[in-house]
Amino acid sequence: MTAPIEDVTPAERARGTSFYEASARTRLELLLDAGSLIEFIGPEQREVSPHLETFDLPEQFDDGIVVGHGRLDGTPVFVAAQEGRFMGGAFGEVHGAKLTGLLHAARQIGSIPVLILFDTGGVRLQEANAGELAIAEIMRAMIEARAAGVKVIGLIGGRSGCYGGGGLIAGCCSALAVSEPGRIAVSGPEVIETNRGVEEFDSRDRALVWRTMGGKHRRLLGAADIFAEDTVQDFREAALELLGLLGPVGTFGLDRLKAEHERLADRLRRFGACEDAIDIWTAEGVAHAATVPELPADQFIALANRIGRTSRDAR
């Protein structure tokens, strides 16, 4: 039984594919120019985690991350995409090292941007020390690359969100695009509840989780620069827009750090006493803030652009 071959353009295929539902490799294949992905240390190399066996856990041939090179509208880019369904997309020794090496190359070359498709719960506990160190090395490598002029764009919209050390790495990127399903935080909802009680944070209150950590809030807060719809095509367009907007050179340095400091200090001054995201959105001038979660993407994007909070020169 064979299905008829459809005449679907790559853009149509990418527009019809949920970023959230797609695997890491599919996200890259559809986001990049068709056929342009060259994978480094792909699954046929079988560089699996050396640590999972002692925990009687299955391995994945690529250790849960795809790294490589491709083209975005003809522009060469380095790419990394985490597989959020394997061990929660968490950073292990090999997984992290693949991204570290990619950033080292980017630093050396200087002119090729890096796209990171985050989908991670943070450190892989079975390899906790290796995972934590990998994240520290990635942060260092990323700042060195940015200091050499490299633009690093983070895309967040997968099942595992961008948690733990992943959230810190995201905070080191030149710019971020996030979708509604995306979440960015350091501690996960369950961890906060376990440590501080359900009154502090009810991890089963999905609306609360999304108001506090989700894509729409991060966009309105200025913690992310672009809100994308949950399609691979929309993330592709977001990546292109951010690459264009970041200007000819990333110029990471003291001025940018001071600007970021002012941006964050200002956020604390204005919203530090707010109890909930709704209070923050109201304080930002959003009328009917409680309806924000239900706003369809196009209306939300218009609203977010009106509020005007972007951080590109202060990140």
């Binding site: 020794e93 090496g101 190359a105 160190l133 050390g165 959230g167």
Partner: protein, 240 residues
């Protein structure tokens, strides 16, 4: 050693370092006569948005105004686990602190971390793990995650985890594990003056490049990381 003991042992020629509600800040005089900025977290204080912005502000103020190395003293909890901190974007505040420290280190202000108490997870990433050289003092108890929490998440018993930890340094808390992994460069002795150990380190600081992957490989704690990173780097350099 208490924080006061540590400061006196590090800076017998005097210091103005204060512990203000868990935030350590001040200048200290080195044996050589130069000055050192000292910042840090004390009393196992959690690192939240308020603490992080204060610490990064201290470093930013010092850049351009002062010269010399920066010491980051660490006895913290993990990142602050609260609705408010996440609501306000804790990831950005912690990343900002790490970036400020890394920038300083890359621009003439070498950074040394000194773990003397506890630290964990996001707090460790933003402080000790964002320095060029991370030193441990005996008795320090850094962790990525505590064993009871790990047992809960991995659904293994504490006994099973403790047993596994005997044969690998890859997951369990502890200074010697982190040293073997390459995170902690060295441990100082608490039975010799810290000032002379600091002086010896300052006289022989490693280069600014991140050597933790190589250290982890040398010490047997991370046998794959450095090689995998190098292979990806080489493949990427060839592909352009």
């Amino acid at each position: 050693m208490t924080l006061d003991d540590i400061l006196v042992s590090l800076f017998p020629d005097g210091h103005e370092v204060r512990n203000d509600d868990g935030i350590i800040a001040g200048a200290a005089t080195l044996r050589s006569g130069g000055k050192m900025l000292v910042i840090g977290v004390a009393n196992r204080t959690a690192l939240g948005v308020d603490e992080a912005i204060r610490l990064s502000g201290l470093v930013l103020e010092s850049i351009g105004r002062d010269s010399g190395p920066i010491l980051v003293l660490v006895d913290s909890d993990s990142q602050r686990m609260s609705k408010r901190d996440e609501l306000l974007g804790l990831n950005e505040f912690l990343a900002h602190l790490a970036k400020v420290l890394i920038h300083a280190d890359m621009h003439g202000r070498p950074t040394i971390g000194l773990l003397y108490g506890h630290s964990a997870a996001g707090a460790l990433l933003a402080t000790g793990l964002a320095t060029r050289v991370l030193v441990g003092l005996p008795g320090a108890e850094p962790a990525v995650m505590d064993l009871p929490s790990m047992a809960k998440v991995t659904k293994l018993s504490m006994a099973a985890l403790v047993e596994k930890a005997k044969s690998t340094p890859v997951f369990a808390p502890g200074l010697s594990n982190l040293e073997q992994m390459g995170a902690v460069h060295m441990t100082w002795s608490d039975s010799r003056p810290l000032a002379e150990q600091l002086e010896a380190l300052l006289a022989d600081m490693p280069v600014v490049q991140d050597r933790r992957g190589a250290l982890g490989k040398e010490r047997g704690g991370r046998l794959k990381a450095a090689d995998i990173a190098e292979r990806v780097r080489d493949l990427a350099l060839q592909t352009r």
